[in-house]
Amino acid sequence: VKILYINNDGAGFADHIDIGEGTTVSQLFSKRVEHGQPSDYLIRVNRQPAAADQVLREGDRVSFTPVKIEGA
């Protein structure tokens, strides 16, 4: 399954990635944000807030944006 994955944390990331069939939002988060807590991020699927157990589908757009981003 190919999705657009956007991570607005740190070095940033925005690209299409392949994930396994039946992968949920929670599983993707655990795999991609190893040391983060879901509560510290705004998690959107297709621009809408998503449940942790939502299964991702072909062409979905998933974004993780930190709730807190430190300016300098």
Partner: protein
Amino acid sequence: VARDKSTSQLVFSLERLQNQIQHLIRSLSDESRMSLPSHRFLYEELLDTREEFPDFQIDLRKNTVSVTTGEIYLEGIELGRFQIQLDILALARDTHCYRVIALTPNRAASRDDATHPHVLDDQLCEGEGTIPLQLALQAGRLSDFFLIVDRTLQTYNSESAYVSLNNWEDHTTCDCCGDRVSECDRYYCEACEHATCDECSTSCSHCDGSACDACIQRCPHCDKRSCAACLTPCGACQRRCCPVCQTDSLCEDCHAPETNDEETPPTTTTLPADATVQSDRVGEALVPA
């Protein structure tokens, strides 16, 4: 030695050239991979931004897209709402393309141009958001751009702020009770120069000078509050008392009771027996008893 020096200079120059070529290749590669977002994509981004930020404006005359944040409170300090204004033409020119404008500015006491710990002259110091912001703008992800700026404004990094929030309202601590006290409510003890709050500052009854609780004293005679400068030692007993309770540098206890002419017995002068008695006036003469 000269040959070694030339060789090392040549190696240094070649390495620098190599770095420049690699940087150029990376830049060209990034540009070639980058594709402009479609109209439909940008339209969806604008709809998404409007959903995320209800106070959303497009100004076709100024070529700007703006959103307004909610009220921002950091560490208990109200900084108000901010307008994030994206300049589309500047974005196309690849220059700094957005401003962060305080709508009801609560400026730092020490800097007029700081409306937020990370905003100076309407420019956000992006910190952790720098690269995600660049990527979002390059890809046309406008909703992510506005969201990242908003999250940065909602976050305080005490270690790298233009003005620390501890000093935002120029608060300091009362040296007597430890309470926070703002600049306009602050007093300075004229004796020890410590800053105090209103409750811990007292005026001297005699000179109206300010003194902190620790430095203010009472005159032992009248019990009025007096600063150290107004309590001077008695010339006799050396006890310090206020100017009102001193006469001729003596405190009330040491100063002799005032003389009363009416109660003073008349003075007499004793003249020697052989003194010549001369009259002051006709018919009047001072005669010894």
